[in-house]
Symmetry: C2
Subunit: 195 residues, 2 copies
DNA sequence: TTGATAACCGACCGATCGTTCGGTAGATAT
DNA sequence: ATATCTACCGAACGATCGGTCGGTTATCAA
């Protein structure tokens, strides 16, 4: 397991910049984080940061892509399964929790953008596509008689994802912690809190 | 129903500035909204805005206070009831949905602050106090045998509030719409999605 | 030793931001 | 008429921001 031994002067690479930036974005918000602070946290100057990236917005773009790619991979995995819709729904919700835990800081960045720029708009569009996948699963499960018919599928999907996405507000990554949270989410969402 | 007829030159008041500001905060984010834009949306100049308020942060403060006051009023109302904990929990969750719908734009502002300044820190502290109230209700309901014992009360409280708070991401105020959403939240959270 | 490569730096620029200040405009009350 | 009150404006400020540019430094391969 030796280091890959890159050419040229050793130092930080693009991924290091992204990691540092994302951490600050989540601590202070994207707008409130300056390129100077990103550079400072890496021990280099502002202009050195621009050697690794093209601009601040690219950092946002890369962070959101890593989050969205993980979520869509999970959706794709579930789509190939030959199972009742409610089972696929349950697995997708579970996977979403695990992806959120695994790519915690990237997902957190994603869930805070407001569509201010074109880059953010595009991310919001992809988010809505993911929402639609979940909504469709709820609808199917309802048609199959496994989900109570008195709730609107779109509303249920949004509330389910609201529960999952709220993890970014309070979950702190710990080994094995994600599975316990996923269990709680599935338990409450599908069986309810009441005994 | 005549206008209150104030003294002096007619025009906007502090509440008008707050309303305009909060709308922009929610569309673009607090940091991304300039005092110029707030003034522009009111048809006055930037310096005129400062006649009504002391600064940008005061607008944030006022918005968050309106949201938090509503939530704590709901918590207080529930506290006085002589009912099983699960009933009080259910009513508090329902009230939270209604407060969120009623003071939608203020709550939305509140739920997006990251604790960057002292004002924001103080709001986060009050939010955590509200969370603790919900957690305590879950714990009591569990002790009374009405909530499944296999979920951690703090986790359950956070997931419940996560569901409720997610409304700011997709709910659009409509007359009578809040009650339907509240029903869906209560239904899923307490009885579960599965039939 | 030399050339290529990759990381870094200091100085600077134009734009935007929140805020201040001194003064003006329009309404009501006396 | 006049005093009072409220709302408004133009001009300017210091600070901060994202980004650019030309040049320097450290490592590896030949």
């Amino acid at each position: 397991m030796t280091a890959p031994r890159r050419r040229g002067r050793p130092g930080h690479d693009q991924d290091a910049v992204l990691t540092a930036a994302v951490r600050l974005f989540n601590e202070q918000g994207y707008d409130a984080t300056s390129m100077f602070e990103i550079a400072e946290s890496l021990g280099i100057t502002k202009s050195s940061v621009y050697h690794h990236i093209s601009g601040k917005e690219q950092l946002l773009q890369m962070a959101m892509d890593r989050a969205l790619d993980g979520l869509f991979e999970a959706a794709e995995d579930v789509r190939e399964l030959d199972l009742p819709a409610i089972e696929r729904l349950e697995r997708l919700i579970r996977s979403s929790v695990l992806v959120l835990a695994e790519r915690f800081e990237f997902v957190t960045v994603l869930l805070r953008v407001r569509g201010n720029t074109e880059v953010e708009q595009h991310a919001l569009t992809r988010r809505r596509e993911f929402d639609a996948v979940v909504t469709e699963l709820v609808k199917q499960a309802q048609a199959e008689g496994d989900v109570r018919p008195d709730v609107d599928p779109a509303t249920a999907a949004r509330l389910l994802l609201g529960m999952v996405n709220s993890l970014t507000e309070w979950y702190r990554p710990r080994p094995g912690g994600a599975e316990a949270i996923a269990d709680a989410v599935i338990s409450i969402a599908f069986e309810g809190l009441r005994m």
